[in-house]
Amino acid sequence: MSSEKMHFEYRVEGGNFSEAGYPSSQVKKTLKQLNVEGNVIKRTVVALYEAEVNIVAHAYRGVIAVDIDTEKIIITLTDEGPGIADIKKAMEIGYSTATPEVREMGFGAGMGLSNMNTNADKLSITSEVGTGTIVEIMNYFHK
């Protein structure tokens, strides 16, 4: 098996909704060029977009690291923010701590984490209240 690998990073700014979507758009372009199957691209992009919007909505800033090899893509989103007190609860459909302002912009309906979960082969969330959250999304290219 080939050991080809790629790595890139994007910075995300809390509160900047108008710029949200750039990393997912870049990742999509890359996966298309790599001839990854359409459905895998779709799921990856949806999961990444949700995770990115979470940083924008809740955190001060964050870094998205993308690692691709011939088998899979791993996206690690590390943010500096309030953290999640009860991750299990946050995973429930409809649960949201988004502010009214964020909801007014069409975000924060409480679908984010569960949506990420259905679109990722593996999802891990670790968080420390007062420090930040690390979300890791993994999708396989071949099943």
Partner: protein, 465 residues
């Protein structure tokens, strides 16, 4: 490597080498980066072209032409049907009545003249059914514009499954007409159905259809060609002949090929209409990223003002739209619910049509993928990234590729050399890695000998210095 498979893609746009001056206007406008310049001529990469016709619009010397069938082909058939889109009548001045146009088309040799949009009411019902039944594939994309269908195949392969798999109004009307004529006892092989097209993409849709084996249409006639023929007949006519005009079309049908023509009549959920190919691309990028939510139906058209802006329409597109809208108002009901139009010529439950209008799958044929093999693709992607980083990002096109990024890709795909970049040449020259002769040879191989002829500036050269 790309070139080998080129001939499997039929295109209506042809580049005439004898007329091409190698100006690169077409290369710079092409939305799918399908054109390069080599040896002073524009070269088409057939697998990337979607027949949108943007190149045709900008060519300053008319070197890009739209192929068409020999008009005499109509005489191969005893029964000769002209299928005319409603935008055709919008090309003529107000003083020309639809009756006059109709009789002139007959005079040219057609036995039947039928408006393409007769199939619209039937198709609109089928679309609404389809949208209801396929909620999981939202947003559903109209198959109306063949350039958009091809654009999705090559540039947005993940959205190929969102295209509604039903034929276009012209096919519905052609199917229905042929059925009606054979029911009258005319042999099918004696019937020739000819479509008057406003654009190149519709020609390709007839000549090499997507989602069906063979088109139901026997030939195409370019709209500007027919326009000229008819104008001549009308000019030569002394008195105005009193003939009845086109059959009654609903307002909806008349405006179907204009922007919002389809989207305004989808009853299910939320519909959007977008015209002009760069707008379509911008929007599809967002759809593909799932950034756009809650849209049920997308009407996407490659031309500004949709078919009124087709490259073969001789009239001004804004005037055409105005004329069609006025005609729609005259027809009494822009929603198209008049009893005549509903019962129209085509029954809503026509079982023959119901059976024949579904399309086969629209298969993606990505031009984006760098290699079928993923690790090869990764290696290429890294090289492209590295090359692109050292290029000047001026996108001047002097290298014969439309952008610095495109040159990087061409180099990695073995279709160009990095030395084609004029900036790279200057850097190499400074480092004594390239002499002037070599750089001139490279420039000549892209732009031809005469553009770099040593003697061509003889008189001006002293002044320049």
């Amino acid at each position: 490597m790309e070139r080998k498979t080129d001939n499997q893609f039929h295109h209506a746009l042809k580049f005439r080498e004898d007329l091409c001056i190698g100006c690169s206007h077409c290369m710079n406008i092409c939305p799918t980066e399908a054109i390069r310049v080599s040896h002073g001529k524009a070269q088409l990469h057939a697998n990337r072209c979607v027949d949108c016709g943007e190149c045709y619009r900008v060519c300053p010397v008319g070197a890009i032409i739209v192929e068409q069938d020999d008009f005499e082909n109509i005489y191969k058939y005893n029964t000769r049907v002209a299928l005319i889109p409603s935008v055709f009548s919008g090309q003529f001045p107000d003083s020309v009545s639809s009756g006059e146009i109709l009789s002139a088309v007959h005079e040219l040799g057609f036995t039947h003249v039928i408006e393409v949009e007769e199939g619209v009411e039937f198709l609109n019902d089928r679309f609404n059914e389809y949208i209801r039944e396929n909620q999981a594939k939202k947003p559903l994309i109209s198959p109306f514009c063949p350039a958009v269908v091809r654009l999705i195949q090559v540039k947005f392969p993940t959205l190929a499954g969102n295209i509604i798999l039903l034929k276009a109004p012209v096919d519905v009307t052609a199917l229905h007409t042929r059925k009606e004529l054979t029911d009258q006892g005319i042999a099918s092989e004696d019937i020739g159905i000819f479509y008057v097209t406003p654009c190149a993409a519709k020609i390709v849709a007839v000549k090499s259809p997507v989602g069906e084996e063979k088109s139901v249409i026997d030939g195409v006639i370019n709209m500007n060609y027919l326009y000229n023929k008819i104008f001549k007949i009308l000019r030569q006519k002394k008195e105005k002949s009193e003939v009845t005009g086109f059959s009654h079309l609903s307002g909806k049908s008349i405006c179907w090929s204009l922007t919002h023509g389809e989207s305004g009549h989808m009853t299910q959920g939320r519909s959007l209409a977008i015209d002009e190919i760069n707008n379509v691309i911008e929007f599809l990028e967002k759809v593909e990223n799932e950034e756009i939510d809650g849209i049920d139906f997308l009407e996407l058209r490659a031309c500004d003002e949709s078919c009124a802006g087709g490259i073969l329409c001789p009239g001004n597109r804004f005037m055409t739209v105005d004329k069609l809208r006025k005609r729609a108002v005259k027809s009494g009901d822009s929603k198209g619910n008049t009893p005549e139009s509903k019962t129209g010529k085509i029954s809503m439950n026509d079982s023959f049509l119901l059976e024949n209008i579904p399309l086969g799958p629209v298969l993606p044929r990505s031009i984006i993928k760098l290699d079928d093999n993923m690790s090869e693709a990764m290696i290429k992607m890294k090289r492209i990234y590295e090359l692109n980083r050292v290029l000047p990002q001026v996108d001047c096109g002097i290298c014969g590729s439309p952008t610095c990024k495109a040159l990087s890709e061409d180099v990695v795909q073995n279709q160009a050399s990095i030395k084609q970049c004029i900036f790279v040449q200057k850097i190499l020259e400074q480092n004594d890695k390239m002499d002037m002769q070599e750089s001139i040879q490279i420039m000549k191989s892209i732009w031809s000998d005469n553009k770099l002829d040593q003697n061509s500036l003889k008189d001006e050269i002293n002044e320049i210095n």
